[in-house]
């Protein structure tokens, strides 16, 4: 039982990332009708916002320490961060420790800007082109963005720690009546799950309870009619694209302490997120979220030894197997709308 609860928690955690990316994908597809293969790269840009802020906080000046030598036997250089120099040891240490949550403040404007530039600069020119063209151009863009990140940050994973207060595990088992440490779950993974539910809730509330959101939803349902009412739907869709980019970016920022980011981490998540979108139903925001969590949990259960002993390798194909079953049973996905991608 404890193993099952642990895998449910893992699934919710993985599902959080899938849901956040799939939410953005669905928003873009639903509003602009664009299949955005560069969405995984937006997640990566967000993750590297956290890495960048950590590096900014680590920018330092060097002084020679004649009492020590470097690996070549030359006098060693001692590095002191400018942060420490300007604010003192305590505040500098606090800012470095909290660099991941603080990176959210950096990521929001960066991702909004990236979203607007991407949409206005490239993607808008492909609105009326076939989906195959959109896929090709966004996939190419994703490769370019990844290679730029690799050029600056290298190919190896970069360790980005959560704040010290969130290092370690919470003994959930004791609360549920199990033995001590039977269900110990990392604090940061719980933070990530809560963070994603807040973001998902925020996006839904924004679309549901604001005039802007109402127009966007109307545009998703019938773009031409909204345009005939004199509403500049293109401008709103640009903002929607930027919001979707920001959601993916924030998912990336908070994900860095879970898995050290690499330039290509977005590819795997993107492929899975497309499956999530299809399973959830093209154009359905609640469907994307539901499918994200569902596939996360199923994927976690498929990794259990008890399951793998019966079906070796099932952990590598379960997501796609689920997608096939769902599409066969419900061709429009779990919550798909009639008429979307059916013409």
């Amino acid at each position: 039982m404890d193993a099952i609860i642990l895998q449910i928690l893992n699934g919710l955690d993985k599902g959080s990332a899938y849901a956040l990316i799939a939410l953005g994908l669905t928003l873009i597809f639903g509003t602009l009708g664009v299949v955005n293969f560069a969405h995984g790269a937006l997640f990566v840009i967000g993750a590297f916002c956290a890495v960048t802020l950590n590096r900014i906080f680590s920018v330092s000046f060097e002084t020679i320490d004649p009492t020590k030598v470097d690996f070549l036997g030359n006098p060693a250089t001692i590095k002191t961060t400018y942060l420490e120099h300007w604010f003192g040891v305590g505040p500098a240490a606090w800012m470095t420790d909290w660099s991941v949550p603080l990176a959210i403040l950096l990521a929001i404007p960066v991702m909004l800007l990236v979203g607007v530039i991407m949409e206005r600069g490239l993607i808008k020119h492909f609105y009326k082109r076939p989906h195959a063209d959109q896929i090709l151009v966004t996939f190419g863009l994703a490769i370019v963005l990844q290679e730029i990140i690799k050029f600056f940050y290298g190919a190896n994973p970069i360790q980005t720690a959560p704040p010290d207060v969130f290092i370690g595990t919470m003994d959930l088992g004791v609360w549920l009546g199990f033995e001590a440490n039977a269900i110990a779950y990392p604090y940061w993974r719980m933070v990530y799950f809560l963070f994603s539910t807040v973001i998902i809730g925020g996006v839904f509330a924004f679309l549901q309870f604001t005039t802007f959101g109402m127009v966007v939803r109307a545009g998703m349902a019938d773009r031409e009619t909204v345009g005939l009412l004199g509403i500049d739907i293109d401008k709103r869709f640009t903002i929607t694209f930027a919001i979707a980019a920001t959601v993916a970016g924030l998912a990336g920022v908070m994900y860095t302490p879970i898995t050290p980011p690499t330039y290509d981490i977005g590819v795997e998540l993107l492929v899975l997120s497309f499956v999530v979108v299809v399973v959830g139903g093209m154009g359905s925001l609640p469907g994307a979220v539901l499918a994200g969590f569902l596939l996360g949990i199923v994927e976690s259960f498929a990794s259990m030894n008890e399951v793998k002993n019966i079906l070796p390798g099932i952990d590598q194909i379960i997501v796609y197997l689920m997608a096939i079953i769902v599409i066969l049973v419900r061709p429009r996905g779990l919550m798909g709308r009639k008429g979307v991608m059916e013409d």
Binding site: L72, T169, I258
Partner: protein
């Protein structure tokens, strides 16, 4: 119906014909070959450096490329000469190889077997490379080694640690300087027994490809031989990034040791996840839970950050070694690039020098002659102490380093500390050892 009459003349004739047939492969050895693939005709000779320049191992590939370029400089008499002066063989005098200036071409393996074979093929067929070297993955190394065997050029393997490279997939044209999974296990096991005792329950997480399988087999055999129990062996997809669903079952499995048969990004992520789940703070069976990373590299340790502290593993070479060869290489590399070389850089530098020296000693670039010069070659001064290139399987045998993640690093490079130098004798095995069985070197192929 004919009747067969067996006469003495018939027996002699048949015997002579059979003898000539059997002797044919021997007659076709280096000495008798006048032609071979990409025989250099001008004043230069071209080597092919096939490394991952994109993909997951690109940083390791970049370090390998730096070392190759340094080796070429030294072979051509430029720079400070590096390990040329400490190498026990004295045929390399800074005048190229056999008097020909060394030039090189590079290829990008992308850490994919098909891409690696394509780039090696291109370097052989279009650029005229007489030798191919490189790789940061066993899957790639084995694939390219096979191609070089078919094409008739020497393959000097880079970073490849699978037993299979010089085991069931060994080839006459292929040579490996790097150590392997069996050697890691043989070196690590006594150290683990001394630190953690003989009564342990080990849980393996293993990258699901040739290197992971052979390392898992080697480590499990070595630890079981000293009394450890293997609780479970779980294969993980090579493309996995989040290992939480594989780590979670470890928590209540009864295991008190986790062996991560992962390398590169896999290792960084699995170790990070294991630490996140509090494994290092757990007490199981009244013992502190321990994590082992059998194959370490400094670049990996950098990626894993503070998580590597106190964790044991093995490595082929480390820049902090104080022998004359290592010091010369670190000085040369560090002065040129500003940071110490990785084990990947070291092994490919050595391979380039070993190839060049073998050509000089053989007096030819013919792969069969070069192969003969490398087979059974004993040398010293390249950073690993006395080393033997065994003729039976083309595997180098030398001391193996057992290392531990440093508790208090003094610099960004000072991440691993050497806890033991395991002597060569302790990591040797018979050529027909079951873990290496099933392959055949075959005959060398000079190509054209």
């Amino acid at each position: 119906m004919s009747k067969s009459i067996l006469t003495r003349r018939n027996v002699l004739q048949t015997g002579a014909a059979a003898g000539a047939g059997l002797a044919l492969p021997t007659i076709l050895t280096a000495g008798s070959h006048s032609g071979y693939t990409n025989a250099p005709t001008g004043s230069t000779v071209t080597l092919g450096f096939n490394v991952p320049q994109t993909g997951a191992y690109a940083d390791e590939g970049a370090d390998e490329l730096r070392a190759y370029m340094l080796a070429v400089e030294h072979l051509n008499g430029e720079g400070d000469g590096g390990m040329l002066s400490t190498f026990s063989s004295k045929t390399l005098e800074g005048n190229g190889i056999l008097g020909k200036k060394v030039e090189y071409v590079t290829g990008d393996t992308q850490t994919k077997s098909d891409a690696a074979r394509a780039s090696a093929k291109s370097m052989i067929e279009k650029d005229g490379a007489v030798m191919i070297t490189g790789g940061s993955s066993s899957g790639v190394a084995i694939a390219v080694q096979g191609l070089c065997q078919e094409a008739g050029v020497i393959f000097m393997a880079g970073l490849t640690h699978s037993n299979d490279t010089t085991g069931k997939d060994k080839k006459a044209n292929g040579f490996r300087h790097f150590f392997n999974g069996y050697m890691s296990a043989a070196a690590l096991a006594p150290v683990l027994q001394a630190r953690y005792g003989s009564d342990r329950n080990a849980y393996h997480l293993t990258a699901d490809y040739t290197w992971g399988w052979t390392q898992e087999e080697s480590i499990a055999a070595a630890t079981e031989a000293m009394g450890w129990n293997t609780v479970n062996k779980v294969r993980t997809p090579l493309k996995a990034t989040d290992f939480s669903s594989y780590i979670a079952p470890v928590l209540n499995s009864g295991a008190d040791v986790l062996v991560l048969n992962h390398y590169g990004g896999n290792m960084v992520n699995s170790l990070t996840n294991a630490v996140q789940f509090g494994l290092r703070d757990k007490v199981v069976n009244n013992k502190n839970f321990e994590i082992i990373v059998p194959l370490y590299s400094r670049l990996m340790a950098k990626g894993a950050g503070a998580n590597v502290k106190g964790i044991f593993g093995s490595t082929n070479w480390h820049w902090s070694l104080q022998d004359e060869g290592s010091k010369a290489f670190v000085k040369s590399f560090g002065t040129k690039y500003g940071f110490p070389p990785s084990q990947a850089a070291h092994t490919v530098y050595c391979q380039t020098l070993l190839y060049a020296d073998a050509c000089n000693r053989a007096g030819t670039f013919n792969p069969c002659g070069v192969g003969e010069a490398l087979e059974g070659f004993e040398f010293d001064g390249l950073g690993n102490g006395k080393t033997l290139y065994r003729a039976d399987d083309h595997q180098c045998f030398k001391d193996v380093l057992v290392v531990k993640g440093k508790e208090n690093p003094t610099s960004e490079f000072d991440l691993l500390e050497i806890v033991e130098v395991t002597p060569m004798e302790q990591v040797q095995y018979a050529p027909d050892h079951p873990m290496f069985a099933g392959g055949d070197l075959g005959a060398c192929n000079p190509g054209a």
